[in-house]
């Protein structure tokens, strides 16, 4: 290549400068490439950008992790050509070790100029007779194939083609196509990284929440979680339901301060520490003490966390509750008429202050009553400068509990919270509810 891009993006023309139209195309490409974070959309946009000024047909082929050439975007002045070529590529994928210029460019990382393609040349690299017929019927004349380089690898190739009577490409077209390919490769790479990051965040988030809740006889259990912020951020709320010996279950809800990878790490620590403590048969207060010590051992900055534990035990047809709070809002006990009251006594949040002061409070869950555990994101749902939903608002919503199914009730709370926040939550929302079934299941 004779022309080089300098560091600040201007073109250092040694022989033949990229034409004004070429510079215009690169500027337009910059705007288009900055607009999407979806790899497929980005590829399609790049292909369309070149048609019709730079090419009659443009093909972008991407290599996957195994080395196969799979993802393809095609644009052409005649849309039916684009459609047919995409279908052809799907039926007969390019052989990555074959003679096709795309395969050779990807393998070598160097561009190719095919100024004049004869039918003999086309025939020599066709992937079968159908492919050869297609190229000859559509009058393939001239092509430039440029590698898509990003972070030291070749992601694929960008091919521009001229058909029939169009002017063949010359040597000085190489620079423009290579530069466009370089920019496109960065955009495609960024989009792939973003997609990957979002997928990782989603996987991590799933790992922080139970896959399913255990079956609790004589009670119905339901949970809901709604993360605030971007898809690729991991939230700090968690919940769990743990079997706890015979006829007993531990309900857990908590909130780790912050978002992102650090909060995700602390959330995992909190969830698994509580699980282990429950397995050892620790009381709710002792479980919170164990978590507090585990957080205190985390260097260097103080990670803090709130938690609410409710131990539910069936004793002689009665459902007894033991509530322990550590910096967490008290759960609501909703009677069959929809009247809600808070149960539990405020206790110190975990991980930052010594000593912590936590007290257990006993209650009973009667038939048809609902216990609702929630995180601060629910009462705090609101927009800056306006009154949030508040605990009073949440207590009011509990009036709907008796007339709704348990999933319906939680969905209703979430909808109201989202409405208060005008669709943008400033904190995650987690809801965990348990409803005692009437004594004899046949009466339901």
């Amino acid at each position: 290549m004779s022309n080089q891009m300098t560091r600040d993006g201007t073109i250092d023309a040694k022989d033949q400068p990229v034409s004004d139209a070429g510079i215009g195309l690169l500027i337009e490409a910059g705007a288009v490439l900055a607009s999407s974070l979806d790899p497929t959309t980005t590829m399609g946009q790049v292909a369309h950008l070149t048609v019709p000024h730079l090419a009659d047909l443009c093909v972008i082929d991407l290599r996957d992790e195994e080395g196969s050439i799979r993802d393809v975007a095609v644009a052409a002045t005649d849309p039916s050509i684009a459609e047919n070529l995409a279908a052809l590529r799907a039926r007969h994928p390019l052989d990555p070790d074959g003679k096709h210029p795309v395969a050779r460019v990807i393998a070598r990382g160097e561009p190719m100029l095919l100024a004049e393609m004869t039918s003999m040349l086309l025939d020599s690299f066709a992937q079968g007779s159908e492919h050869a017929r297609f190229m000859i019927e559509n009058d393939y004349r001239s092509a430039v194939v440029a590698p898509l380089p990003a972070r030291g690898r070749t992601l694929g190739a960008l091919s521009v083609l001229r058909l029939g009577d169009s002017t063949p490409y010359r040597k000085n077209d190489l620079d423009l196509v290579c530069e466009l390919a370089r920019r496109a490769a960065l955009a495609i790479d960024n989009a792939r990284l973003y997609t990957e990051r979002t997928r990782i965040a989603h996987t991590l988030q799933q790992a922080l929440l139970p896959e399913s809740l255990p079956d609790v006889p004589t009670a119905e259990v339901e949970a809901r979680y709604c993360a605030a912020g971007e898809l690729n951020e991991v939230g700090g709320d968690f919940y769990d339901v743990l079997p706890y010996g015979l006829d007993s279950w531990m309900f857990v809800i908590g909130d780790v301060c912050g978002k992102g990878p650090r909060a995700a790490g602390v959330t995992a620590l909190a969830r698994h520490t509580l699980r282990a403590a429950a397995m050892c048969g620790q009381s709710p207060t002792d479980m919170l003490g164990t978590l507090h010590r585990a957080l205190r051992q985390q260097p260097p900055e103080a990670d803090m966390c709130t938690a609410c534990l409710v131990l539910m035990t069936r004793v002689n047809e009665r459902t007894l509750l033991t509530v322990a709070l550590a910096g967490h809002p008290p759960p609501l006990l909703i009677d069959p008429n929809g009247a809600a009251r808070q149960i539990g006594r405020h206790g110190t949040l975990l991980g930052v202050l010594d000593p912590i002061n936590i007290a257990e409070v006993q209650a009973e869950l009667g038939a048809g009553e609902t216990l609702l555990l929630y995180t601060d994101g629910v009462p705090d749902a609101g927009v800056a400068g306006d009154e949030p939903l508040g605990e009073s608002g949440l207590i009011e919503l509990c009036g709907r509990a008796p007339s709704l199914s348990l999933p319906g009730f939680l969905e209703h709370i979430e909808q109201v919270a989202l409405k208060c926040a005008q669709g943008t939550l400033r904190d995650d929302i987690a809801l965990l509810a348990v409803r005692a079934l009437n004594r004899t299941p046949s009466q339901r």
């Binding site: 803090m304 709070l325 550590a326 405020h346 002061n357 705090d380």
Partner: protein, 115 residues
């Protein structure tokens, strides 16, 4: 000193042996770093008393609590007296839920004498 972003404004007032840090608006995940940066000011370290005035603070979340606790910790390490004045109902609720009303000194007015 006045620092402000969209929803938090911080006024720092030096009075003889004490400093009063007034918070106006909302102290949350977004605005907490602003207060964190302000309390790391060496001028605050040299006073005897640090008061966080929350009277005009409408909203606080756990990230806000964390900065308040960090301020408390910093004052404690430097042998300074530390107190908070009461905030909005939401602020007081969170302080109470977090069990901090037992750990932190809460005063009715920033002018209240600290002994």
């Amino acid at each position: 000193v006045v620092l402000a972003d969209e929803h938090l404004q911080i006024d720092v007032r030096h009075e003889r042996d004490r400093v009063v840090v007034e918070l106006h608006g909302e102290l949350d995940l977004v605005s907490a770093p602003l207060l964190q940066a302000e309390i790391e000011n060496p001028e605050i370290d040299s006073t005897e008393v640090v008061v966080l005035d929350l009277q005009d603070l409408r909203f606080i979340d756990s990230a806000g609590l964390r900065v308040i606790l960090a301020t408390h910790e910093r004052s404690h390490q430097r042998g300074q007296a530390f107190a908070l004045s009461r905030g909005s109902a939401q602020v007081q609720r969170l302080l109470s839920v977090a069990g901090l009303d037992e750990h932190l000194r809460i005063i009715e007015s920033p002018d209240e004498l600290l002994v």
